[in-house]
Symmetry: C2
Subunit: 177 residues, 2 copies
Amino acid sequence: MPFTTEIQPGVHQETPKATRGFVLNHSMLRVKDPQVALDFYTGVMGMRLLRKLDFPEMRFSLYFLAKLEGETAPEDVGERTAWTFSQRSILELTHNWGTESDPDFRYHDGNAQPQGFGHICFAVPDLDAAVAWFDEKGVTFVKRPDQGKMKDVAFIKDPDGYWIEIVQPDKLTALGL
Amino acid sequence: MPFTTEIQPGVHQETPKATRGFVLNHSMLRVKDPQVALDFYTGVMGMRLLRKLDFPEMRFSLYFLAKLEGETAPEDVGERTAWTFSQRSILELTHNWGTESDPDFRYHDGNAQPQGFGHICFAVPDLDAAVAWFDEKGVTFVKRPDQGKMKDVAFIKDPDGYWIEIVQPDKLTALGL
């Protein structure tokens, strides 16, 4: 099957058979206050909460969200768990109970030192409309599309300070990328 | 349209119209040595390198990978950029030039203090087979499926020390989740 990929040092051109059916399902971010985070990810980013899992003995809860377009998730909770873990681009938010009531508590965004994780990214159909929407919702920008060296790429912050890149895919092609 | 979701404080049940077409496209992790990281993500996890973008003035390169099953990416590089940014579950690896030759350099995994980002997760069709495959490839485990409180959930490390959760979706339902 013809597949266009880039040849770079380290890259295996053949996909190992043992990885058939592997799906990159989710990224997990810890959040201080789930009510604030859920308000943002459902009310501003338009995600749906697929599943909440509580672990009382370990005093944490997990929230699984997805940006869906038209798909419907199974009603049965067990089936919904399996379905959630079979999707792509799920966002998992972890809440360690009690952090929301500690005024000094905050998580590390990965961009200040020590660095590691950088950001999540949403593609949007219309960058200008998305920026206007984020302004309407009072979202904090790290970088607006016209700032910095990377034109037409924006970064906003979620309530915990994690960076979210915002791009309009066809504009990147126009930039020569 | 019937959509089963969870009702929790903060959750908006109505998806804002302004978010129509938003797609959670990728998560970005910084890596010390792209050759080592690409060997792992293509040779062990079975991902494909869709696009490499170089930014010589800023001395970094970006690598966009996906675990694809059957899909083919456009041959034209510009179209491939737009296509890559329209997909779900892309992994972006950022390489700041020079880190690979500094023996003391390492990135922060987000699970040691200060905490923030936790992990990415791959769903697999057969957890036992996946564990055997990772053992064959000499992958480091944070937690094997039979260790700890969460049975049937494994965590491995990528070459930079980032955690990767490994789950078999139907086993989670069997756990009562």
